[in-house]
């Protein structure tokens, strides 16, 4: 990316008509999968419990950069941000996360299998 003298970061999109993806408004509109709703619920609940703020959510999302915005889905970015915030808060460690993800992945090859086995 060319340095931008305005000092705007990538997420500050308002008025950026020159961006190649600032084309027609996309016609996407669908309900969310269960795992995505769970990410949303965890973000909201963590906020209500006082271990997380919307500012913390946004900080990590914005620091992920433009590439993540274009290549990851909305709730993929949200779960990555939620996780980073939980790590920073000391809720669990990187080792805890790595061990648990390996365990989850060993339970089955579908979301339902991997979830139900742990429920």
């Amino acid at each position: 990316m060319t340095p931008d003298a305005t000092g705007k970061r990538w997420h500050d999109m308002g008025g950026d008509l020159a961006h190649p993806l600032a084309g027609p408004i996309p016609d996407g509109d669908h309900d969310f999968a269960l795992w995505e709703k769970r990410v949303d619920a965890l973000v909201i609940l963590a906020g209500l419990k006082g271990v997380f703020t919307v500012d913390g959510l946004r900080r990590v999302l914005e620091d992920m950069g433009e590439d993540a915005f274009e290549t990851m889905t909305y709730y993929e970015r949200w779960v990555a941000s939620l996780n980073q915030n939980m790590l920073e808060q000391g809720v669990y460690s990187v080792a805890d996360l790595g061990a648990r993800m390996a365990e989850v992945q060993a339970r089955g090859t579908t979301y339902a299998d991997a979830t139900d086995a742990g429920a």
Partner: protein
């Protein structure tokens, strides 16, 4: 474009078409969600019941809540005044808690049309309208709406006369907007419930207008 799904045919409780089943193979991010959720439960941050209840509450929210607020404003001048003065308090009056966010209601008139965007992220009055549609979160909508709103509105099938002022409102994490669309002509005989049926999600974002019947 079929942006507005107010008729609920083949739609989920939150008013969206059902998403194609994603349960083909466990993705990295899905595995992370399961792991994060289990760890948050084990560490006592949340309970499984709270997560389930939060999802139920999310599924129960849809644009009909916002439509009820708009219909009340159309029929009750004192409520309209209160809504324009303090959107959060007026919504709470009707039992719709918008949380700590400041909700600002902006009213369309014969001379002014309002439209809402969040250029920085995806802030949306989700407690009154449910989760935001995908296009609301798109780069195209976020970047263009503040610069060429009439062109954007035209893509939603809404072409406004040149003498109508278009006001674009940029939401923030702490402040949300909802548009009170203009009440359609010829609806004098309708009661509040019938009027609410005319209020579409898109009309409350400002990319559409209320149905005429």
């Amino acid at each position: 474009m079929p942006h507005d799904h107010h008729d609920h045919a083949g739609l989920s409780p939150s008013g969206h078409p059902y998403r194609e089943d994603q349960d083909n193979s466990l993705s990295y991010w899905q595995a992370m969600e399961i792991a994060v959720r289990e760890l948050m439960i084990e560490k006592g941050i949340v309970t499984a019941e709270e997560v389930a209840a939060q999802i139920d509450a999310m599924d129960a929210r849809d644009p009909s809540q916002g439509a009820a607020v708009v219909a009340r404003a159309w029929t009750d001048p004192a409520f309209r005044e209160r809504l324009l003065a303090d959107g959060s308090a007026a919504s709470a009056e009707m039992g719709f808690d918008v949380g700590p966010m400041k909700l600002i209601a902006v009213e369309n008139t014969a001379d002014v049309h309002n439209v809402v965007v969040c250029t920085l992220c995806s802030c949306y009055p989700r407690n009154l309208l449910g989760l935001p549609p995908d296009w609301y979160k798109s780069r195209a909508y976020r970047s263009r709406t503040v610069r060429e709103p009439r062109k954007v509105l035209a893509e939603f099938g809404l072409t406004l006369p040149e003498n109508v002022t278009v006001r674009v409102h940029d939401s923030t994490a702490d402040m949300r907007y909802i548009v009170i669309p203009a009440r359609p002509d010829g609806t004098d005989g309708l009661d509040e419930a019938a009027l609410a049926e005319l209020v579409t999600r898109d009309s409350m974002i400002g990319v559409g207008v209320a149905k005429t019947g």
